[in-house]
Symmetry: C2
């Protein structure tokens, strides 16, 4: 994998050269996760990563044993050597990487205001940048287009996800998985058995009484699942750090005309959107088309149409109907489409699959559907 | 519960009056969780909360249906009314709550630098504060001392946790729970059956081959658990939002002298620390005593001795051996003690229980131990 990480870092080094950034700082910690460190070095969590304009990488992990197993970087040093302080680590890294006085050091966009002031002081010899539209946005764009290694991971992640979709469908149909917990824990167990790190986010399993919520709270309970009406199951499997994200709706008779109408509209919306997915298309346009379809039936979807997936369950590109959405689809992007409708009396209905953008169009990776029981 | 939330808000209103803060802003969102909103209003996640010096509360939740079921505030308005923008919401809230021009508005300490600039612009008529040692620190101190309602919740949470500890111990001993997944999913299921919202954090179940890691990665797998050597199980149950946090070590013969030594030292450290826990004691002193005990045997603990628990798995007070730790124990605090030792060859050993500070001393709420199999 080392070549992969070096290639990714090269993209960032090139960007740094263009932008005149001498040192770039990444931080992943409990308060603020940044999966870009895993993307750039393979190290899964809790670390600082420094990239220099002279194309050197320095990783400072909390757990040096884990780094020795998983991380790729030119230099790896334990955090304890820097008193577990990001400020001391940054000042030392600037010296060790021979960053010239007066040059530009960019720290994470989400750095807290007080911590920005602390960095400015700790890096007094440098010009410290903390920008909303800087390195974070650039790396977000790089990460949105998956490279070959990532596409291979997604092929395997989707394969396992689809195996579980088949098993789940069969066992819910036959009444062997009876409760929300049954379904959610089946996924936890069977995913790990097949080599997944775990689930990509908390599984949402909501039986007919709770499916009206976009995000059921709690995410799953001991309540019944798959009975008469609409049950929603939203889950993702984390394979080598990358998560899938799919939603099935289980519809069991008797269903009211209102419930049938919801199902039919969500399916129409899904196929309308899928038909529009190809390189060059603005995602705003797709999201607007779906919202317009629902509006013609006097319905409204209370969330975005979809999103990119990768090391995070929600990442670039956005697929939402909001004026600040300027994303265009490109080959290599992996996105979800998840049209849904919710009604406190009728319950909820959502259908979500993962889609890889190809040169020619789109490849649907996963096999979720609205399942008639 | 409403009276409880109003009492908590009153503490904050009094603090605001003393500090001359006219409006206090809380934000809980995917990028930055803040459990203080739940503490102050009962609303579990994704919302803005505004408290005014005239002692009014305004909650702006993402999910208005959930708020109508769970939230207590003087006014509740849906986020969609403010274009889902915290800046627009804050500007409107200042108007609606009749905050006088020129007065002080405090935003969250962890607000990103660029967003602080945006708030400053959106609240141009006011003096916007974003302080490391301001409202967040004050609320952290309030939350560290649990009120009666919270202590009642902890009594129930601990009761369920102890039930599971007994069942787990029995079933691991008998070989009915064989793998890390068996143990972790048993907790997920049995906790929910007993009314828990779920687990308080990802369960760490590490069999003998993986227990050397402080935080096993992945957190649990299909690997064997409870075989010869040392297995670690670290879990918490979330009851009404509050999490317990316990760690058991399962030790199965044959054990090497090195492993026996680790067990004996961890047990000694635990009892040494527990003996020191009472109101008025500085937590730094306890952490130093434990580190000194390990040092006498030429061992070192690579993490803090413990921490407060509550709506978050890690909250105030700190129990660490670091010069900036100035915490003193007070009646009502709920803390964990979790001494542990780790060795890549021998595996790991950790013992963690939850402890309520009382007027007289300490009450151990949970029943973890180092279990001989």
């Amino acid at each position: 994998m080392n070549k992969v990480y070096e290639e990714r870092r090269t993209k960032v080094y090139d960007w740094m050269a263009r932008e005149g950034i001498a040192l770039l700082v990444f931080e992943d910690c409990e308060q603020r996760r940044d999966a870009s460190i895993r993307w750039l070095s393979g190290h899964p969590s809790d670390a600082l990563l420094f990239l220099s304009v002279s194309r050197e990488s320095l990783l400072i992990p909390w757990d040096i044993n884990m780094a020795s197993l998983m991380a790729d970087a030119n230099t790896v040093l334990p955090y304890t050597r820097f008193e577990r302080s990001p400020l001391i680590a940054a000042a030392q890294a600037a010296k060790q990487l021979k960053i010239l006085r007066g040059s530009r050091i960019e720290i994470p966009a989400l750095t807290a205001y007080y911590q920005f002031l602390n960095f400015t002081e700790a890096l007094g010899d440098y010009d410290v940048l903390c920008r909303q539209w800087g390195a974070q946005e650039a790396v977000e764009h790089f990460r949105a287009v998956k490279d070959e290694a990532e596409q291979n991971i997604y092929a395997r992640a989707a394969h396992i996800t689809n195996e579980l979709i088949d098993l789940l469908t069969e066992q819910v149909r036959e009444g062997r998985l009876k409760t929300e917990s049954d379904v959610a824990l089946f996924i936890e167990r069977e995913g790990r058995k097949r080599g997944c790190e775990g689930t990509g986010f908390e599984t949402l399993a909501a039986g007919p009484d709770r499916s009206f919520g976009i995000h059921a709270f709690p995410s799953y309970t001991a309540a019944a699942f798959g009975g008469a009406g609409l049950s929603i199951l939203d889950f993702g499997l984390n394979f080598s750090g990358y998560t899938t994200d799919v939603t099935l709706t289980f519809a069991r008779q008797p269903l009211s005309p209102g419930q049938e109408k919801m199902i039919s509209l969500v399916e129409k919306a899904y196929h309308l959107a899928l038909g529009m997915v190809k390189p060059g298309v603005e995602t705003l346009e797709i999201a607007q088309a779906v919202d317009a379809l629902f509006a013609r039936s006097k319905k409204a979807m209370p969330h975005a149409l979809g999103h990119g997936i990768g090391l995070e369950a929600h990442e670039a590109p956005a697929l939402r109907n909001r004026s600040d959405n300027t994303w265009k689809l490109e080959p290599g992007m992996v996105i979800t489409l998840e049209p849904g409708l919710y009604d406190t009396a009728l319950g909820g209905c959502r259908l979500e699959n993962d889609i890889l953008l190809t040169e020619k169009g789109a490849e649907v990776l996963t096999s979720s559907s609205i399942v008639r029981l």
